[in-house]
Subunit: 109 residues, 2 copies
DNA sequence: AACTCAATACAATAAAATTTGATGCAAAAG
DNA sequence: CTTTTGCATCAAATTTTATTGTATTGAGTT
């Protein structure tokens, strides 16, 4: 009755996991300004194409980015909806939280 | 000039990492309602004391929780400021983001 | 001094994540 | 239609890192 968060869905946990790696955060940061194709990211970050592709996959599975094909290029961009979802998840921790103070730990009343 | 996020500080990455583990999320969830001592958490979650202590340490290092000693009990509670920090970090991705559309990938103009 | 709550040290384990190199495949160019 | 380009993916290897259990320690209580 009083729970609101309680189900840390796979998508939420996966999202936070994707965000916990510096290289991936760097990718997201580059995408803040504009959509970029893999070759752009590759050039900007000095990583091998395969490695970048791996991390893009992690980000895509976490739905933090989306991919759009145009000709033979694939453009990546932020999926802002997912950022909002994670924000809201975090926000709910604040909703009813620091109301009750400590509770007696001993078994008596 | 146009960057606002750019520094995924260790604290941010550490925070997301801490949030990417179901058991730890469960702990946070229990703490939403009230401050709890380790023995309460231990009982509520059916894990060994040592294991719980390990995960509490991860959460504490990520500053998602704080600990307060009272007698021989240690009460844990959410550190809401840190949740706000992470929320704000995520929110900044939305700030200037989806303005620019795709950019031509070829080297010519 | 004995007991309780919790952190820590240590080792063992487990596992999981990352990286590389090779290959495949679709789209475009010639 | 053959070649080239951009990217994904597969298989292994690597590397790391994370988790967990078993003591042990230490502070606070009784």
């Amino acid at each position: 009755m009083q729970k609101t968060t309680s189900i840390p869905s796979t998508l939420i946990v996966t999202g936070f996991h994707a965000l916990s790696e510096p290289l991936r955060v760097q990718v997201l940061d580059l995408l803040r300004e504009q959509e970029l194709c893999v070759c752009d990211l590759c050039g900007a970050m000095e990583v091998t194409q395969s490695k970048l592709s791996f991390h893009l996959k992690v980000l895509k599975e976490a739905q933090l980015v989306k991919a759009r094909q145009e000709g033979r290029w694939i453009y990546y961009s932020l999926n802002l909806a997912q950022f909002v979802l994670l924000e809201q998840y975090l926000a709910e921790f604040r909703r009813f939280s620091p109301i009750l103070p400590a509770r007696a730990c001993r078994d008596d009343g």
